[in-house]
């Protein structure tokens, strides 16, 4: 069976499930953000695959480009928050940061 749309969607589903697992179990905030990156990449694989397998499709690739931009913004702000959290609390474990203010 030749590689088709379903194969790419399956890879996307696996990536998504792994990302959800990482987000649910990780306690380190940086590793948690890695899980978010996995989820975003899973969505992107699906978007690009759809755009390839429909007639004359380009919209999916445009959306994927926007997702990449948003992921960059998310990573910058998210990691800045993690660094600020580490500076103020001395830890990056999300369970032990429960107060908004010291």
């Amino acid at each position: 069976m030749s590689v088709g749309l379903a194969h790419y969607l399956t890879v996307g589903a696996i990536l998504f499930a792994l990302g959800v697992f990482a987000v649910m179990t990780r306690r380190n905030a940086v590793a948690l953000l890695m899980g978010v990156e996995l989820i975003l990449n899973a969505a992107n694989v699906n978007l690009v695959a759809f755009s390839r397998f429909v007639e004359n499709g380009i919209d999916g690739q445009v959306m994927a480009a926007f997702v990449i931009v948003l992921a960059a913004a998310e990573a910058a702000v998210g990691l800045a928050i993690v660094l600020a959290m580490f500076r103020n609390f001395g830890t990056v474990h999300v369970d032990s940061v429960q107060r908004l203010k010291r």
Binding site: A65, A71, A80
Partner: protein, 183 residues
């Protein structure tokens, strides 16, 4: 067919390294596995004929986001006796993720996808640029505004506050020397 073999190779690389990202106990290992995942996804884009996105993935994700992530891993040290994630959390999360995948897979296999006869992939950079500057001009401009806001926000968040007498009670004694390089 050799194209199929290439797909399976890169799909395997992506999935296996993503497993390391999700399961590895060592955050540094997870970060470096993320490199291979992102590269594998870029290769999948290239196979799907999305040449511009494949390059953008390498430049933005691997060159930018991943470097940021690894810097963050290095700047935030983990205390020795940090609690590991226990089975009490892994089992329900694993069951949920598996169920999610089973559902998605069922949908993928059960849906009759309308697939166009796969034409030979051709470069899409020009069409992508045209679409961005015509149909998608508003989101395009908006996203640039958002990037600016994110940049300013990140700079403000990591800024050192050095107002005299304004430091909180015990101003971070555990402040690592490295964090201010980010600012």
């Amino acid at each position: 067919m050799s194209g199929d073999l290439v797909f399976y190779g890169f799909a395997l690389l992506t999935v296996v390294s993503a497993c390391f990202v999700a399961f590895s106990r060592n955050v540094v290992h997870a970060g470096f596995s993320l490199l291979f995942t992102l590269f594998g996804v870029a290769a999948l884009y290239a196979q799907l004929g999305a040449d511009f996105l494949a390059v953008a993935q390498v430049i933005v994700y691997i060159g930018g986001i991943l470097v940021l992530v690894i810097f963050a891993v290095m700047m935030t040290r983990i205390p020795r006796g940090a609690p590991r994630r226990g089975l009490d959390r892994m089992v329900p999360a694993g069951a949920f993720a598996l169920a999610l995948f089973a559902l998605l897979y069922r949908v993928i296999t059960a849906t009759p996808w309308p697939t166009a006869a796969a034409a030979a992939p051709e470069p899409t950079t020009m069409r992508l640029g045209t679409a961005l500057l015509t149909d998608y001009i508003f989101p395009f401009e908006f996203v640039s505004l958002l990037l600016l806001a994110a940049m300013v926000g990140a700079a403000i968040l990591v800024r050192e506050r050095r107002r005299s007498g304004e430091n909180g009670p015990e101003a971070p004694a555990a402040d690592p020397a490295g964090t201010e390089e980010q600012a």
